[in-house]
Symmetry: C3
Subunit: 154 residues, 3 copies
């Protein structure tokens, strides 16, 4: 068992099947040493588990949990790109977190921390990434957060 | 005639001149094997052809058509980067679609499909890309959608 | 003294210490020949200096000035990545500017020009970048603008 697979097991995280997009795009593209994932939403078994505006319809804690699920789904895409061998991930390069938020929301970083913390739990120092956290007026399926990732791989 | 130029002709798509930004930025940057385009908006002959909020001021179908035009404009940028030789495009790596949308909009994927479908019509399997679709509270010139692209080139 | 350090001095720009994120992410990641920065906000000495919606709470000119500060902060991140040797920057590849804006705002390009102009002042032709400018319903700490950057380095 790989090091990262082992780590996921210790964290009790079971990677889902990478979500297969239903349109003319894909969940990941591997180019050179980089993997770009599609924007990941808090889907579990194909269903959105957290919808509505962060801090309004949904608590910050719930939104953070949703961001964590987005990150897990991003790792699932990387796993699909690497035939399951997550030990080939050298670095989490970049996360961009789009938070479904009203005009007066200011706590986007706390929400996206759910994704950032998960990456560091799983990959350790290699999980530390550059990050942007911004507000979106709305998101697909009314999900609370969407996270896209760039990974460096060997 | 190149393979992709031929394909564009069969699709009756005439690439515009790549839009020249009017400020201190450029339409594309080629770095290593990647081309990053500037965010493309639904301009035709220098004029925005689709403005307003998707699903409110503008129908989903019109917004999707606008996203298609953004994708054509992104290909025009890539053509400028490659001195017209679009056969050097190995892969459409990533599209990010920002949809001008009210707080309750949820159909961003359908809008951005206009861009995704165009890429696959033109590039076939190599046109399948990682994609994010998100809502923006507003966009430049009030356009309905803005799409940026990353291409891998040989 | 390096060429770019000299240029900054002539422009009377003192680079701040790169802001150290307070969460599980970092200000920059260097991968291959690219540096990806975290989203930079108009912080000066750790405090946001421009908050509120562009064109509503804050004038376009103030918002543009804030974008300029974001760009300075992005250069500070690149300097940290390069142990201060900014002459290793070959090209500013990409800027993405998220403008905190109401639904009816349309002048995102003017705001983000503050960042674009700064890059060209500092790096000359190598400062010309691909750019996206979009509206965000809200941003962290209610700042007026957030800018992320990709640099190519030697």
């Amino acid at each position: 068992m790989g090091k990262i697979a082992d780590r996921l097991k210790k964290l009790n995280i079971e990677l889902p099947q990478a979500a297969a997009p239903v349109a003319n795009y894909v969940g990941w593209v591997h180019t050179g040493n980089l993997i770009f994932t599609a924007g990941q939403i808090p889907l579990r078994e194909g269903k959105p588990v957290c919808t509505g505006k962060a801090g309004a319809d949904v608590s910050i804690e719930e939104a953070e949990e949703a961001a964590r699920l987005c990150a897990i789904n991003a790792i699932a895409q990387a796993a699909a790109a690497l035939d399951g061998d997550l030990d080939r991930i050298v670095r989490v390069v970049k996360l961009t977190g789009f938070v479904n938020a009203n005009n007066d929301f200011t706590q986007h970083p706390r929400v996206v921390n759910g994704a950032s913390n998960l990456m560091v739990e799983v990959f350790g120092e290699a999980g530390r990434h550059a990050r942007s956290a911004v507000g979106s007026s709305s998101l697909p399926l009314d999900v609370t957060v969407e996270v896209e990732a760039v990974f460096e791989v060997s």
